[in-house]
Symmetry: C2
Subunit: 204 residues, 2 copies
């Protein structure tokens, strides 16, 4: 695809660096911006730059924040002795939108994945261990994606905390609401049978 202008070409290749955006989509986005008023495009561009330079990470839980301690950690209504351990900020947003969790978080910044070159020291695991020791944490709920890397990470952290009295749990895994039994994989179906629940706890 040959573009008629080098300025256009540069903008398209910048957009095409974003995940899931190919050259054609990038061109569509750039041509859309080209149709907007210059002041709006400058606002777009400044907002992005400000976001990158101004955003902070919470010193306690590593969630995104406008200040040193994030809104969740500084909220006195939340149970600080219950920590949900997640891989990234998107997971915090997903769990917050359920309105079912009233504790605090800990964002690992990834999961242990030797194949991708991610080891325990690349994550905020040490900070988590320190928190468990110092903040009198009663329960860690792991909400990691259900795969080998997630399980490895849980196992690693559990080993590190084996002398602690902190309870360690993980979110339930099983058949999704609206899922069809016949299309569930054997592992999920097998586990959901093994971890079956009394009906009274299910129908609330």
């Amino acid at each position: 695809m040959q573009l008629p202008s080098s300025l256009l070409e540069n903008a398209v290749s910048e957009f095409a660096k974003l995940p899931g955006i190919g050259k054609k989509t990038a061109l569509r986005l750039v041509l859309h911006l080209l149709k907007q008023e210059e002041v709006d495009v400058n606002h777009f561009s400044e907002t992005i730059a400000q976001m990158r330079s101004g955003i902070k990470f919470c010193k306690r839980c590593f969630n995104i924040s406008d200040s040193d301690i994030c809104a969740i950690c500084s909220n006195s209504m939340r149970n600080k002795h219950l920590i949900c351990v997640v891989e990234n900020i998107r997971d915090v947003i997903a769990i917050e939108s359920t309105d079912q969790f009233s504790g605090a978080y800990h964002v690992l910044g990834g999961i242990i994945s030797p194949l991708d070159g991610v080891g325990p020291n690349d994550l905020t695991i040490e900070a988590l261990i320190n928190r468990v020791e110092k903040e009198e944490i009663e329960e860690l709920v792991f909400a990691l994606n259900p795969n080998i890397q997630g399980d490895t990470t849980i196992y690693y952290i559990q080993k590190k905390l084996q002398n602690s009295t902190c309870k360690i749990t993980t979110i339930a895994r099983g058949i999704s609401f609206g899922g069809e039994l016949e299309f569930a994989d054997e592992l999920t179906l097998g586990r959901s049978l093994a971890n079956r629940l009394p009906v009274e706890s299910y129908v609330r």
Copy 2:
């Protein structure tokens, strides 16, 4: 979806203004930028702003250009008496990538569509009529999308040029290569029968 930072929220809502980008995709893009080096994000942001402020439109054909006259109009190898009329710049790029057209272009900037509030005066139709009169244009090839608005636009311009000797044609419409006859709509199949071609012109 509640976001933990107003800077993040602003950046996400700027991205979500782009066509085809919803809030979730916008968040994914912003979090990707957040992981990049600050200098790279600044480069991204500056490239976009520069593109909007620096890009010009060719004074002759309204294609995108780095200078007053675009690379195609100023190319002496191209046939200036043959003009391909297109709706927008993306169509120029699409036709250029076929390597089958050696004339010049005219970008209308849209098509006549009263329902969307686009009339002839919102487009570069007057400039096109002037070009036909002054530049000794021999043929106008319309390459507009095959729909009512496209046909209306062709009809309008043809009426305006009825006293001119300029030949007016449109790109062929029919069954696509690789298309299946049984799935073609009646209008396309009907027209492609009515406009059937001698086989020697088809097998080149």
